[in-house]
Symmetry: C2
Subunit: 246 residues, 2 copies
DNA sequence: CTAATAGTGTCTCTTAGACAATATATA
DNA sequence: TATATATTGTCTAAGAGACACTATTAG
């Protein structure tokens, strides 16, 4: 089928963001309250239009900065920048009742932040526990997500859950320097399981290049002081960390 | 940022297809010769515009049928339908010199087909060995792909290589009934390595639900007749098949 | 002291990988 | 017969999971 630029159907293209963090042992997603129809009053994922001269990843990074003040890792290579990657694209013809909108969803993994309302126009942004947004059982209608955002969030959470199995991506949920116990609690929150602290310690410290000792210790968690590490260059974890119960 | 439908920038949205198969022990991709500018005469991935009332996956399935006559597995649940999944979306502002085009790439894994030109408008479609399209070393200019299609193909090949590690997706490269040896040759072609036939046999037949014996035998490959299997329902392979050399 | 977390060691069981040996077809 | 592929079995080394034990802080 040859291109015919004069008769292509016009689409609006947006980016939506699944921004995940771990707060108080729970996996949370950033949500914003919709102030207008459709779905007025419901929670939605942050997002917005891709500009005419803008790359998709740039649009996602820009929206992220606007909503949270977060920088991505690409721009600031070492200091706890958030991880950003493309997730998937959603283009059901009726997903937005107003017009044909194709949304390129992105996944952001961020360390715990003090408060989500750093940016300008996100007056009612909030970290919501993923369990409450996706709980198939008894979701309060007020906690339902607008549009197809529950599907997008579900896909993003599943991506995060599977990616930390075989990569060092879980460190993106931690501050620049962290302990083995903090990293383990990330896995436990994301997977919703309990891991044996001793076997976990042996696994992550025994994988070359996965963690780099940084010298100091901390007693943030109480108990015996723990060594501080930062994420090593090894992005591949082989053999992978095995998710229990699967 | 509130929606303002009256001033969103208009985009064209296309689907591009990375259609992979295994022919004569080599991983091959479906390519079409471009008949017009830009990139006239170069190979490109098949694809086309998403229609105004069409879902992304439907557009990909339609283009696939037009170019190859292949049906996807969703429509025909058991008989060697091709596997189709969304791959990623490419939206660099200058990826198409004529206009702003966002392309939602899809990955198709298909059994070996007699000839690629089953459809109507794909007069110059051809299976090309992936090695020659992506060979970083000495790629003939005539074998370069148009637009950013080399990047898309690379992403698709990498997706296929990693997904067969932990899923039964390799069976999508085989006919409906296949032998353990044929499945092993798929892994060998996709990964570009040699696998031990005995350990491979033990692994795949020892994983419950991965392969279902279908009763007959075949001697397609010469040698002792091999049992025929079809893909089992178990889509998850845990622990995964380990890719050597990594 | 107790409670909490960090970290090491040890045991068992499963499995990957190497490879010997046997089975059954074609040329 | 030789040759090719299929299939089973055996051995070893590595790693996961269970868990005893020690180390070091706070209260």
């Amino acid at each position: 089928m040859p291109y015919d630029p004069s008769e292509f159907p016009p689409f609006a293209v947006t980016v939506d963001l699944v921004v995940l963090t771990v707060r108080r042992h729970a996996l949370c997603a950033l949500t914003v309250r919709r102030g207008e129809e459709p779905y007025r009053g419901l929670w939605a994922l942050p997002g917005g239009f891709v500009r005419a001269d803008e790359d998709l990843a740039s649009a996602a990074a820009r929206e992220l900065a606007e909503e949270t003040g977060l920088r991505t890792q690409d721009s600031d290579s070492r200091h706890a920048g958030a991880h950003l990657e493309q997730l998937a694209t959603y283009g059901d013809p009726v997903r937005d009742p107003r017009m044909r909108v194709v949304s390129v969803a992105h996944l952001v993994l961020a360390p715990d932040l003090p408060a989500p309302t750093a940016g300008g126009d996100a007056g009612s942004a909030q970290w919501m526990p993923v369990r409450r947004l996706l709980g198939a059982t008894d979701a309060t209608p007020a906690e339902r997500l607008a549009f197809d955002h529950a599907t997008i969030l579900d896909d993003g959470v599943e991506r995060a859950r599977s990616k930390i199995e075989y990569s060092s991506l879980a460190a993106a949920f931690c501050p620049a320097e962290f302990t083995v116990g903090e990293l383990r609690r990330v896995y436990e929150a994301v997977w919703g399981v309990a891991l044996d602290p001793r076997n976990f310690h042996r696994k992550v410290t025994g994988t070359p290049g996965f963690l780099v000792p940084v010298g100091g210790t901390t007693t943030r968690q109480g108990g015996r002081p723990a060594q501080l590490f930062r994420a090593g260059g090894a992005s591949a974890l082989n053999p992978p960390m095995l998710r229990p119960d699967v």
